[in-house]
């Protein structure tokens, strides 16, 4: 099973690296399935984070695809990148958790904070849909999903400065809409 996986992934990736978009699409799909089970085992306590790390790993795999050495197994390459992203997540969570503990501590508070956050997210989604794409996507990726400007730029195909401008103008426009709406 594993060896079969390796051969399939390797063929698709090598064709993808020469610019074959169809093979590359197949490769990313197969890798995402593989990554999900790889990460699910390692994030057994944080199942809701799995998909985020899958996506971050996919973006990293795409951005670093020139670092695949054809003499090495693809799965080792993919796993190393996924582990790197996993450690990144745990480090970030470690920092945030430390902050949360000292600030909250009370369970009843954090439950209401949770539902409020969900409400707020729904409102933001509604407001965001009012914005043009060039502002909506940068805000979505950078401010809500927490990607870096560079990652958002490579995802949307916009330049980094366009992403920054989009975030800036979009937030301004959102503020104006909120003021106008109340």
């Amino acid at each position: 099973m594993l060896i079969e996986n390796e051969v399939v992934l390797r063929n698709l990736l090598i064709r993808g690296l020469t610019g074959d978009a169809v093979a590359y699409h197949e490769f990313l799909k197969a890798v995402s399935v593989h990554l999900r089970s790889f990460l699910r085992r390692r994030l057994a306590n944080l199942p809701h984070e799995v998909e985020d790390v899958v996506q971050e790993s996919l973006i990293a795999i795409h951005n670093q695809r020139h670092t695949y050495d054809a003499s090495q197994p693809v799965t080792a390459w993919v796993h190393a990148i996924a582990k790197y992203k996993l450690v990144d997540l745990l480090r970030r969570r470690g920092n945030r958790e430390a902050l949360n503990d000292s600030l909250e501590g009370d369970d009843s508070l954090s439950v209401s904070a949770g539902t409020e956050a969900i409400d707020a997210r729904r409102d933001i989604a509604k407001l965001l849909n009012l914005l043009p794409e060039r502002q909506r996507l940068p805000i979505l990726h950078v401010k809500l999903e927490g990607l870096s400007v560079a990652e958002a730029a490579s995802l949307t195909g916009m330049s980094e400065s366009a992403v920054k401008i989009g975030v800036h103008r979009g937030l301004k426009a959102l503020a104006a809409k909120i003021r106008g709406g109340t």
């Binding site: 978009a21 590359y24 699409h25 990313l28 996919l58 020139h66 080792a76 990148i81 995802l155």
Partner: protein
Amino acid sequence: MNTDDLIAVLSTKATPVQPNAAARRYSVAAGWSFLGATVLMASLFGVRSDLVDAAMLPMFWTKIVFVASLAAAGLVAAMRVSLPGVPLGWAAHALIAPVVAIGVLAAIQLVNSDHALRSELFFGTTWRSCPFQIAFLSMPMFIAVLWAMKGLAPTRLRLAGAAMGFAAGAMGALVYSLHCPELAAPFLGFWYSLGMLIPTAIGMALGSRLLRW
């Protein structure tokens, strides 16, 4: 964004990539830093005046082979740790072999020499400056390998930092050996190694900060 959409977006950006990115980056890094370190060495320390005579001595070439093989092994090690999932592998042996060889040679020279000469074989005349000048000459390569790694994807950052520092130190030692008058194996084995370990330790300490991506 859901994962299928993300995959669809990413696969529209399947522009072809050139193979051997690491080898290409590292040959540029090695070329420029050899040039840079040589210019630094020639202008600040000076090439040893009897280089032509020294080139007749077997021990001179032993020294060159010692540092050149470490520089090559350091370069390969740095290149391998720059790629996700590639183990150090045989590069680890290639790093240890020259040190063991010079250690054996040093022991033979010490055992076969007079009691009175032993400290001369170990300290030479330049032990005070040697490690620091090697560390100084490692700077161009340190910066060049940092540049190379920033364009690749090291995932074990402390190890990558150490490999970066060691490759830089060995390149510094290679260039320094054209200035340095010492030829005794005990001197080379200890003070040269110390000089190379200074940037290695710095690289290891800074690795996780400098190399994050």
